[in-house]
């Protein structure tokens, strides 16, 4: 059977295409423009953020001091006075606590160079990107050591889940699949070096391809 004939048979099965651009379609256009704004990322209420941070204290891998610093800098950015609060950054909020840096992603859509520049400014020699992931992967972290960045669907990408003593996702990531607003980021051991790129999974926008690797599952503490 020839290709064109197969295609003609399939074409004969085509259901109707609908009534076209009707008044209802015009109304939908107006509704979308009027009610659907460009998404903003509202800052969650302080109580909600505190409630979600509660699981941090149960995380066995984190020193209590690290938890306290993440909590403090997350809820009171810039509110601790000169020299004490986090440095003003655009894309990341980075603080050091003991042997760990806490890195909270403030702008999940910033480019790779911005992240790198801000990390380097704090003495963290890391390359990182934030990519869309499945709901169960949001907040998770992998290290990609090869392949084209951002093309897990069409190319081979070598990735590993880093040792949690070196890099760990923020503990609240375990609840990101259910929480409406969920901070993402990581804890990085001071002095950690890796030639790969750290990928952090964010929530995908409607219609957006998942880029973060599959099979990286959330392990609640």
């Amino acid at each position: 059977m020839r290709t064109a004939d197969i295609d003609r048979l399939v074409a004969s099965l085509a259901p109707g295409t609908g009534p076209g651009l009707t008044p209802g379609a015009r109304e939908l256009l107006d509704e979308i423009v009027a009610t659907s704004q460009v998404p903003v990322r509202p800052r969650p209420a302080l109580t909600a953020r505190l409630a979600r941070l509660a699981p941090l204290v149960r995380h066995r891998l984190l020193a209590p001091l690290t938890v306290a610093v993440v909590l403090l800098t997350w809820t009171l950015p810039g509110g601790l006075g000169p020299g004490l609060g986090p440095r003003p950054t655009e894309a990341l909020e980075i603080n050091r606590s003991g042997v760990y840096f806490s890195v909270v992603v403030k702008d999940v859509y910033a480019d790779k160079r911005s992240y790198r520049r801000e990390l380097a400014a704090h003495g963290v020699p890391l390359s990182m990107v934030v990519v869309p992931g499945r709901p169960g992967s949001v907040g998770q972290v992998v290290v990609v050591t090869g392949g084209p960045l951002g093309f897990t669907r069409s190319g081979k990408v070598w990735w590993t889940v880093p040792d949690r003593r070196d890099i760990a996702p923020l503990p609240v990531a375990a609840y990101c699949d259910t929480a409406e607003h969920c901070p993402i980021g990581m804890l990085v051991r001071a002095g950690y070096q890796n030639r790969g790129t750290v990928w952090v999974a964010r929530r995908a926008l409607p219609g957006e391809n998942y880029v973060f690797p599959t099979r990286v599952t959330v392990q609640p503490s």
Partner: protein, 183 residues
């Protein structure tokens, strides 16, 4: 000259592609409600990501790609009824009641036995009239991969049609000859 007004640009994209998108989602949904929801979500995504929508003909392919994922979410039960498009929903339901019902013959049954991926590929060719390069753009894969997958999908449909031993006279003598393997 400054950047185009977002509303104006969206309206151009919407009016230029609405009929094609309606056809795309209507042919792949079971009900007028699902079609209206998919349309609303697809164009809402386009509005929110207006800067990502390519210019010209490629906008339609981009929208097909979004609609395809919206429909996949619908099938996974992840979508919820949107408050938008209530009037559109009524119009599509009314149109459906007036439209002649399709024959659900054996060719359709053979087509339905294909995998969803095979059906989508063949539909993009025969229903939307896309070529391999355009399909590659919709699916986010290479042209070569599309050509190979299309070839295999056509072969599988031909095999299904042969296995069904159909009465294809309604599709003309040419179709019947084809299924029997005659040139």
């Amino acid at each position: 000259m400054g950047p185009p007004d977002p509303r104006m640009r969206f309206e151009e994209i919407y009016t230029a592609n609405y009929a094609d998108l309606l056809g795309y989602v209507r042919r792949r949904t079971e009900s007028a409600d699902d079609a209206a929801d998919a349309l609303a979500e697809t164009f809402t995504t386009a509005w929110r990501r207006l800067d990502d929508v390519p210019e010209g003909e490629r906008a339609r392919l981009w929208l097909y790609g979004v609609a395809r994922r919206v429909l996949a979410n619908q099938r996974r039960g992840a979508s919820r009824r949107t408050a938008l498009a209530s009037r559109l929903r009524e119009e599509l339901s009314a149109w459906e009641e007036d439209a002649p019902h399709q024959d659900t013959g054996a060719i359709r049954a053979a087509f339905q036995r294909l995998s969803p991926d095979d059906r989508e590929l063949l539909s993009l060719v025969s229903w939307e009239g896309l070529d391999s390069a355009q399909i590659a753009s919709v699916l986010g894969c290479s042209r070569g991969a599309v050509r190979i997958r299309l070839h295999r999908a056509r072969k599988r449909l031909a095999a299904e049609l042969e296995a069904a031993e159909l009465d294809l006279t309604r599709y003309g003598p040419r179709a019947a000859a084809l299924v029997k393997g005659q040139p």
